[in-house]
């Protein structure tokens, strides 16, 4: 606490430390980006390498049937070259429409992101409500938790059409008109609330007995203990869940679109291009890549929010 040297001002030392920390953070970000880029490049090389090997064998010796029989074939229909996939983004997929495939995918991604976002938010609200309910009593926890777990074992493709059919009801009591995409949001909610409920409960129960006693010693109400202690203590647990939930909400939205036929999103786009695969395999690959980018962006956004929300806390990450 005492400065090491009379001549060194503590404020100067602290500013120096802050500068060092900022540099370390920046290095960390750069490292993550480099690692990710390297991963993408490695994957592309693997893809192109396999294709190249398969093509040369295919051309040279047709009597060595490994690639194409026990391994996927490498012709341009089954494995379009990466260059063709990339250049496809710039091509308009419809004859009388100048819009490029990239624009189509971008717009579809936004549509799906909207579905996923509302589903995600609703999932957080539902998950947290369940967690708080289960926190209130052991009996409720024991009664409810099995159903929460079982809910996730029902295949999504089975319930998605049901939810969409229910969504065709004219919900007159709603202050807004119900759209088909909102049904897809509900499917996303179905995947989102689970990690939030499970991890949220774990986080709400995480404060030490001493911290709880401390709140009791201030005669804090249950709500105060929830808001000032349990909820903030659960934030690291919640972020671990939100990272899962965000990806899950995208997956839920895409699967929801595919299995229900709701149009406008990336799931529907994938469905369309899959049905017309032979006339343009690159389009399917491109739209799958678009879906992957959407997932990565969402994951990245949550990670950034996490860093901001957990600044100053001890570094350990809670185990999910």
């Amino acid at each position: 606490m005492d400065s090491l040297d009379e001549g060194v001002d503590a404020a100067v030392v602290r500013a120096e430390i802050r500068r060092y920390e900022r540099r370390a953070r920046l290095r960390n970000v750069v490292r993550r980006v480099v690692v990710f880029a390297a991963f993408v490049i490695a994957l592309s090389l693997l893809y192109s390498g396999y294709k190249a090997v398969g093509q040369s064998i295919d051309d040279a010796q047709r009597d060595w049937p490994v690639i194409g029989s026990v391994m996927p074939a490498t012709n341009d229909l089954i494995m379009p070259p990466i260059s063709a996939i990339l250049s496809e983004f710039d091509d308009p997929p419809q004859r009388r429409n100048a819009k490029t495939l990239g624009q189509f995918i971008f717009e579809a991604s936004l549509f799906t992101a909207r579905e996923a976002f509302f589903g995600f938010v609703a999932g957080i609200v539902l998950g947290l409500s369940l967690a708080i309910l289960m926190l209130r009593s052991r009996t409720i926890e024991r009664g409810l938790m099995p159903y929460v777990v079982v809910s996730q074992t029902v295949p999504l493709v089975a319930i998605a059409p049901i939810i969409v059919i229910w969504g065709q009801t004219n919900f007159g009591w709603l202050p807004f008109t119900w759209n088909a995409w909102m049904s897809v949001s509900i499917i996303a909610t179905y995947l989102t609330f689970f990690p939030v409920a499970v991890n949220g409960l774990k986080g709400l129960q995480s404060p030490s007995a001493e911290s709880i006693e401390l709140m009791d010693s201030y005669a804090a109400s249950r709500t105060q203990t929830l808001l000032k202690l349990r909820f903030p203590a659960s934030v690291p647990y919640l972020f671990a869940a939100l990272k899962l939930a965000a990806s899950a909400s995208i997956v839920g939205a895409i699967v929801g679109e595919i299995s229900s036929g709701v149009g406008g999103g990336i799931g529907r786009l994938i469905l369309d291009f899959a049905s017309r695969y032979t006339t343009g395999p690159e389009r399917l690959y491109a739209s799958v890549a678009g879906a992957a980018v959407l997932g990565i962006v969402v994951f990245g956004l949550i990670s950034i929010a996490e860093r901001y929300a957990l600044r100053g806390r001890a570094q350990e990450n809670p185990v999910v």
Binding site: M1, A10, E210, A219, K228, V235, G312
Partner: protein, 263 residues
């Protein structure tokens, strides 16, 4: 029910007992018939072997757990009422700071619960930071502080709303010897500044003798009070730890503890 204790007494236990899981196979008699009275402004240390019920007695005084038999009065009220009146602050062995709050906001936690305005809160937390000599660290997070500094924050938090009684459960137990002695001196300075009554649980004999005006010695489970030793060393200072009377008191406490040790 009997009458309440006179107000000049900070804490009074009358034939207080605590039995956990009463009537079940895992029943534990933690405390047996404790009679104790701590005067207002006094500094009392509770010492005894591990598991003898020191923490339980402190929690009884704090109104956190009810006595099975007997009564506890704090400032002339039932302990639970005193808790609701926010008559005391507490400090534990782990500082139990909230790691998502800065030092300042940790100190302000009880004030928030009491509904103080932002201005009042920052005024008081600045005072408290000054009291524990951490004015430069208000914006730091707990994990940026040493163990001793964290305990000082915990003390500042416990005293922020000026409770009349400070209950401490081995607050310096996790600190190294040097820091510990420094913190003991700090605590005495704060005690003199604030005139708070202190009940201090420890299992260190020198710590009890150095800090307290009275050392209460407890027996192994079930915890009973076996000695009540007055320590009259005058104002503590650097010389105190070398004072022959300091050693005499240490010996006296040690012998009281040894007398009740189970072989």
């Amino acid at each position: 029910m009997s009458t309440s204790a006179p107000v000049s007494v900070a804490v009074e236990a009358r034939a207080a007992s605590k039995i956990f899981s009463r009537g079940k196979p895992n029943q534990v008699v933690a405390l047996e018939s404790i009679n104790l009275s701590v005067r207002q402004g006094g500094f009392v240390a509770l010492i005894g072997p591990s598991g003898c019920g020191k923490s339980t007695l402190l929690r009884l005084m704090a109104g956190l757990v009810p006595a099975t038999e007997g009564e506890i009065f704090v400032n002339g009220k039932a302990a639970d009422q005193a808790r609701r009146d926010r008559d005391y602050g507490m400090a534990f062995q782990s500082a139990s700071l909230f790691d998502w709050r800065t030092v300042t906001r940790n100190i302000e936690l009880p004030l928030e619960l009491l509904g103080w305005s932002k201005d009042q809160r920052s005024k008081r937390s600045a005072e408290m930071l000054d009291l524990v000599q951490l004015s430069d660290f208000g914006d730091h997070y707990p994990n940026q502080l040493s163990g001793g500094m964290q305990q000082r924050v915990a003390i500042a938090r416990a005293l922020s709303f000026k409770p009349s009684i400070l209950l401490m459960d081995e607050p310096f137990g996790a600190l190294d010897e040097m820091t510990r002695e420094h913190m003991q001196a700090e605590l005495l300075r704060i005690w003199e500044d604030t005139q708070t009554s202190v009940v201090f649980v420890t299992h260190s004999i020198p710590e009890a003798v150095f800090l307290a005006q009275r050392v209460i010695v407890m027996s192994p489970r079930p915890g009973r009070i076996v000695a009540d030793i007055d320590v009259d060393l005058g104002p503590r200072g650097f010389g105190t730890r070398e004072d022959p009377e300091f050693f005499n008191k240490i010996t006296e406490v040690r012998e009281a503890l040894r007398a009740v040790e189970v072989p």
